[in-house]
Symmetry: C2
Subunit: 353 residues, 2 copies
């Protein structure tokens, strides 16, 4: 399994970009930065485009998804696009009844709670992923030398939505299931791993130059549960995309205690949330991988001098790691002033790597 | 400032109870256990009593609050009552417009976001706390030799509700404010510290034998922010109740990284959430304080043999600490079968301390 010779990573477009160079532990020509959720709610041009279009419909319209992905790249001069989509898209494309309810989040028609619920899950096909490939192709044609980062939800986070049927604070349902019915849990997370893995592979093969696995809810787990009930499925998701030559990033929030275990599922870069300074994260990881992060999104609304000092502190803390890509330590909050993001990019690019 | 000689802790009723003995690092005659949120939604007799009564009204009706506090003690034979109230009660009693909206949580009439908002906050008076004292008196009269645990919200958690005006996932508002306007933040958290401190002192003076500070949202903070912007206010809250002779407990969720800093605000016991095994928590704390916790609430819905093995593992992990009070590692989920809680208490009491 390899990427086509016309893939941006192979034909000279993005292989030497600052993002991919830093992800590979090399010395980039400028300090790379992108923002999780840069494509989306903080941009007026996004809100304009999305008017009257439901979230999942916008993800499945290749033209629209591509345009939304490109908007923040044009506006902020960031060093990567992040593909506009949603972690539940593979569920939707497999035929699971799911929608994104505004102000709530992903809601399933029926929660998946038993072994027979899991056994009855439909199988995601390669054909169903065609709108994703098409959106990625349209996007990378426009991006030129700027790499596109593809992404997928980690199996635990996906399974958490599937078991609860909706967002929840404590994720009691999935956390009960892993202990109460480990076999059904294993089957469910393997299903989710394959769906997410295929979704990510479709993006990479169609032109994305790197891939990020988001385990948004892994922070609700203790280390023992993570290693026993979650890490094997996350490794399985990534098995779908290993060996392509595209750097793989792993990120979760509230996961300071899980960093090494999350690296050990087999990734090239660790994303770090805003809670843990990068020098401490690098120490815990033994200096083994480049880091991505971790500007505190709460500081985006602070006076510029406070924010600038914070960004400089993040850069200083990241200097110890074998590579550093600036990002937020969580997604862009919807109420963020986009001009602040542009100004941060300028600041970061002004500081020699 | 001392407790009256007729206080349960001073007149021989609770001073030698298994709970207080364990909190003080002594050897209790039976293994003490109580459950966070044991009074409340999991009990049919509670749901019956609350019919047609709004949450905050039930907290401010001394007869009702007392009866709700007593229900789980009668039913489960736990080693402590936990006073039925809410962390926003001091706000309500000070005259801040706040209500608990079912399915949402605390909602303020107007969020507190600026220095002038903070300056305009009303002052909580000792007189306003009389319904709390009365409820505690009624309760301890019935509890006999079983100690009552009083509680209050920590200033950060209280301030988080005040700044957002409602529950939030990321607590961006308060986390921005601490950096953007440290003086207003300090004034707000000092106000909250004094309100919570007075609320807790009223409970202790009226008959509660121990006090627990809940910092439910502290897990959203990195260690540096916690130490700089939060710990001083938490210490100030506890200044209101030091020297009474009543053991003080500190608890938060997702706070594995903050344990020592939370101990250092000056408490006798650390509550540990379900994520961190107690032997590891004890190691991080250097064996300095007894621990409370940390049965995973997700296991309450698992088959009994899975739950029993987990409870025994928690007891084994707690053995290293200089004292251990069994509890959950987060509150009782509303859908918990109360018979499971009773069975856990029996199991714990059957194992010699």
């Amino acid at each position: 399994m390899t990427l086509s010779s016309r893939h941006p990573l192979m034909d000279g477009r993005t292989g030497d970009s600052s993002l991919i160079t830093a992800y590979r532990g090399g010395k980039p020509s400028r300090r790379p930065v992108w923002f999780m959720r840069q494509a989306g709610r903080s941009l007026p041009e996004y809100r304009q485009l999305r008017k009257g279009v439901a979230m999942l419909d916008s993800c499945l319209d290749p033209q629209l998804a591509s345009e939304i992905t490109l908007q923040p790249v044009r506006r902020h001069d960031v060093d990567a696009g992040i593909f506009f989509s949603d972690i539940v898209i593979p569920l939707k494309l497999a035929g699971v009844g799911v929608d994104i309810v505004p102000g709530v989040g992903p809601v399933l028609d029926a929660p998946i709670r038993t072994a027979s619920d899991v056994a009855a899950l439909p199988t995601l096909t390669e054909e169903a992923l065609e709108p994703i490939r098409e959106a990625v192709r349209l996007t990378v044609d426009q991006l030129g030398k700027t790499p596109l980062v593809g992404f997928a939800g980690a199996p635990f986070t996906l399974a958490a939505y599937m078991v609860e049927g909706k967002p929840s604070r404590d994720h009691l349902g999935p956390r009960t299931m892993m202990h109460a019915d480990p076999q059904a849990w294993r089957a469910l997370t393997h299903w989710a791993a394959d769906a997410s893995g295929m979704f990510l592979r479709a993006q990479l093969e169609a032109g994305a130059s790197a891939g990020q696995l988001f385990d948004s809810w892994a922070g609700s787990l203790g280390l023992q549960d993570y290693i026993r009930y979650v890490a094997p499925a996350s490794a399985r998701a990534l098995d779908h995309v290993r060996g392509l030559g595209a750097p793989l990033v792993h990120f979760g929030t509230g996961t300071s205690e899980l960093l090494s275990a999350m690296r050990d599922v087999g990734v090239d870069v660790m994303g770090v949330d805003y809670r843990l300074p990068l020098d401490e994260a690098n120490r815990r990881l033994g200096g083994t991988v480049p880091l991505q992060g971790n500007i505190d999104p709460a500081l985006l609304s602070a006076p510029w001098e406070v924010l600038e000092a914070h960004v400089r502190a993040v850069i200083a803390a990241g200097a110890a790691a074998p590579g550093h890509v600036l990002n937020l330590g969580h997604g862009v909050p919807p109420e963020t002033d986009p001009e602040v993001l542009t100004r941060i990019v300028k600041l970061i690019h002004s500081i020699q790597p």
